[in-house]
């Protein structure tokens, strides 16, 4: 039985047995593109697939699914599902932990179908033959989701050596002036479509701080400074929360290396506070107390 089939039957079972009312997984769309699938009936399970192109972080749908906020065409409220099954990769599963810590839903509401992950492919299936793993997957050492109720697939016994983060090192090594110029040129391309934010499971504020009507924090102008403020601000809000799924960077139509910001802060948080987002369901340490030794004057 292929992993896709295993996933399908897992989904079918939990739906049929009424354990969950909804399954969030992957399906294949037009042009062979893999995309999120949200199914409510056992017979739909056959649509589900698993491949090295399932790069989306589906946890972005969890909160909305569980509160019944999305998936309506009319204003009649629909009763939200009591429990939702979701297909998670290791990185995605860490997002679940973060969201649990932030009380976005309870563990009981989630049935995590964990996938032993061997990394996601760069680019399209069309380019399959020469397709390489995404850079983030080459850097990643985790193969088994930290959160899962079932685990599908065999975690590979031998792990390839994790690659160093060259891009990050490169930017860090630039002289400040050049770094500033580099980032400005990147931010300048931003069209403020907010796909990065919308695709991020952690960006779940009711209305983004940087898009408030009153423009208190950042204006609506498409000037580099506004865009920089948005991106840096967002990175700050993700400090200690970002699980490195890199969706923000993937969905960016303008190819802005947003992931660099998050990775940089993730490293800072880990080195300062020894915290890695999502390894356990604990809040980001950023609002916490200093440890005894830190607080020593």
């Amino acid at each position: 039985m292929s992993i896709s089939e295993a996933m399908q039957s897992a989904a079918r079972d939990v739906l049929a047995s009424g354990q969950v009312q909804r399954v969030i997984g992957y399906e294949t769309g037009p042009h062979g593109r893999v995309r999120p699938a949200i199914i409510d009936r056992p017979e739909e399970a056959e649509r589900l697939v698993w491949s090295a192109d399932c790069t989306h972080n589906l946890t972005v749908y969890l909160h909305r699914a569980l509160t019944g906020e999305n998936g309506r065409a009319s204003r009649e409220a629909v009763a939200p599902p009591a429990r939702v099954a979701i297909v998670v990769k290791p990185c995605d599963s860490r997002a679940i932990n973060v969201l649990l810590a932030e009380h976005q839903f309870s563990r009981e509401q989630v049935f995590a179908i964990g996938m032993a992950c061997e990394g996601m492919r760069q680019g399209a299936p069309a380019s399959a033959p020469e397709a390489t793993l995404q850079a983030r997957c080459l850097r990643c050492r985790e193969r088994v989701p930290v959160v899962h109720d079932v685990l599908l697939g065999e975690p590979p016994s031998a792990l390839p050596e994790a690659l160093p983060d060259e891009a990050l090192a490169h930017v860090r090594d630039l002289p400040p002036a050049e770094r500033a110029a580099f980032w400005l040129s990147q931010f300048d391309r931003c069209i403020r479509c907010y796909a990065c934010r919308q695709a991020c499971p952690m960006c779940n504020c009711p209305t983004c701080l940087f898009e408030q009507e009153d423009a208190l924090w950042v204006g609506m102008r498409i000037a580099p400074s506004e865009k920089r403020t948005f991106h840096l601000g967002r990175a700050l809000h993700l400090a200690g929360r970002c699980v490195g799924c890199n969706e923000c960077e993937r969905v960016c139509p303008m190819g802005i290396p947003i992931g660099l910001l998050n990775r940089h802060l993730a490293e800072t948080v880990e080195s300062l506070y020894g915290h890695r987002a999502g390894m356990q369901p604990v809040l980001s340490p950023v609002t916490g107390m200093l440890s005894a030794e830190e607080s020593a004057p």
């Binding site: 400040p176 400005l184 601000g233 990175a235 139509p253 290396p257 802060l265 800072t268 830190e294 607080s295």
Partner: protein, 162 residues
């Protein structure tokens, strides 16, 4: 002669009073600092500091009570946790780290207050005005940066994502 514009977030119990005592004891402190009084250094949201730089501040100085002496038990712990992260990301984005500093001044330490502010301003002068606040479009410079940027999710040529 260039004079840095400095915003100082002073916690009302320690550093603000410290500034007060610096004044009452006639200590010379640079005029560059414009004080914004906050109840506690923990109140200083990183976004506020970001905002200050966007509005053209050349430097931001956050002063709170010494760790362990916070009037609010541990508010300053939070500042001590957050602000390093802000500094880190600002530096990563190309700002000189000298432009943001978090330090502790107690109500009695007028001298310390004066010293820190002078140090801070002196460190800023050689840096010149902050180029952080930009007007108009930035130079499209990424051609200049020969770094391996990830390909865009590739709208061009219809390479789909993924």
């Amino acid at each position: 002669m260039y004079e840095p514009k400095v915003i100082g977030f002073l916690c009302t119990w320690c550093s603000y009073t410290g500034a007060d005592s610096a004044g009452t004891s006639r200590l010379k402190t640079p005029w560059n600092l414009r004080a914004v009084r906050v109840p506690c250094s923990g109140r200083v949201a990183p976004e506020l500091i970001l905002r200050a730089f966007d509005q053209g501040a050349d430097g931001v100085l956050v002063l709170g009570c010494h760790i362990g002496e916070c009037h609010y038990d541990s508010g300053n712990h939070r500042a001590a946790k957050r602000i390093p992260l802000l500094l880190s990301i600002l530096e990563f984005a190309g700002m000189q780290p000298e432009r943001l500093r978090l330090d502790w001044v107690s109500a009695s330490e007028g001298d310390r207050y004066a010293r820190i502010v002078s140090e801070f301003v002196d460190a800023l002068r050689p840096l010149g005005p902050n180029t952080w606040r930009i007007n108009g479009a930035a130079p499209r410079a990424d051609a200049a940066i020969g770094m391996p940027l990830p390909a865009a999710s590739g709208l061009s040529g219809g390479a789909p994502c993924p």
